[in-house]
Symmetry: C2
Subunit: 139 residues, 2 copies
DNA sequence: CCGCATTGCGTGTATATACATTTATTATAC
DNA sequence: GTATAATAAATGTATATACACGCAATGCGG
């Protein structure tokens, strides 16, 4: 029964659940979940990309991205604008979205410090690097 | 904008998504998802525990566990039996559940090999250890 | 042009997840 | 012993996730 301890899905999913809870709690004054915060970051980092590109970068199904966007759109934090290719939708952050994002940043930072502090920044840096390798092997 | 690369939630959630997809695909002949497979493992490992204990061990909200169980129960893979304390529910795997679990094991193994093979077993062992430290710091 | 493959995106359905609240049972204070 | 606190679990609601499928726009071979 070594499965329980070594299973990649089990270990990653459990860590993901707990870390998500920590970040969601920290971000709760803004009403943002960490998923939504990450989406805002990715829009800011790659303003011109369409949904397919974003989804691939996030390692997230296209339809998941689509539905997560709806939540942000409903709150008026982002808006969808059709691209030149009229099949495409592009995402644009609204002023309200940008403002909320800036309010969220220090909260994010505190959560990150708390979570990463548990093992130390150097170990986290190494861990994150391994995670990226793992992800690269699956994409 | 170092957030994008270092954010613990982002990195873990993305890795979790991709790894989950890999395991779910591998397990698809059984109709089990890796979440469900993990639940079966945990029931087999700790037969007497109630939901609170299981949820804590899994780093999962009680209500999430409750609802994930429903899916297994609906398929007749587990059954709920009331404990001595009539507030408690105990989980018991049915023969059908045990049989399906055994069918799933080799599929799980192949997925694990594929995922872990991307970075090597030793690196995975180290990574899993760090993940457990991280989790321990949050519980 | 026109027909068809491709591409980008949305919907239907199902599971996964958690917080707030509620219900039922047990334990405890008095 | 009863009133109240504490505990175990389920429900209501909302987001997160992905697969199968369908629709609209584009590109391309003839």
């Amino acid at each position: 029964m070594t499965m329980a301890r070594t299973c990649a899905a089990y270990n990653l999913r459990r860590a993901s659940r707990l870390v998500t809870q920590a970040f969601d709690q920290a971000l709760s004054p803004t009403g943002l979940k960490v998923t939504q915060f990450s989406l805002l970051v990715s829009f800011l980092l790659s303003p011109g990309s369409n949904m397919v590109q974003l989804a691939h970068w996030l390692g997230m199904d296209r339809t998941t991205l689509s539905r997560n966007l709806k939540v942000l759109e409903k709150r008026g934090l982002v808006e969808m604008v059709p691209g030149e290719d009229r099949r495409e939708q592009q995402v644009r952050i609204t002023p309200a979205g940008r403002k909320l994002f800036e309010q969220a940043c220090p909260l994010w930072f505190r959560a990150q410090e708390r979570v990463v502090g548990g093992i130390g920044h150097e170990k986290w840096a190494a861990l994150a690097k391994e995670l990226r390798s793992l992800v690269a092997g699956l994409k």
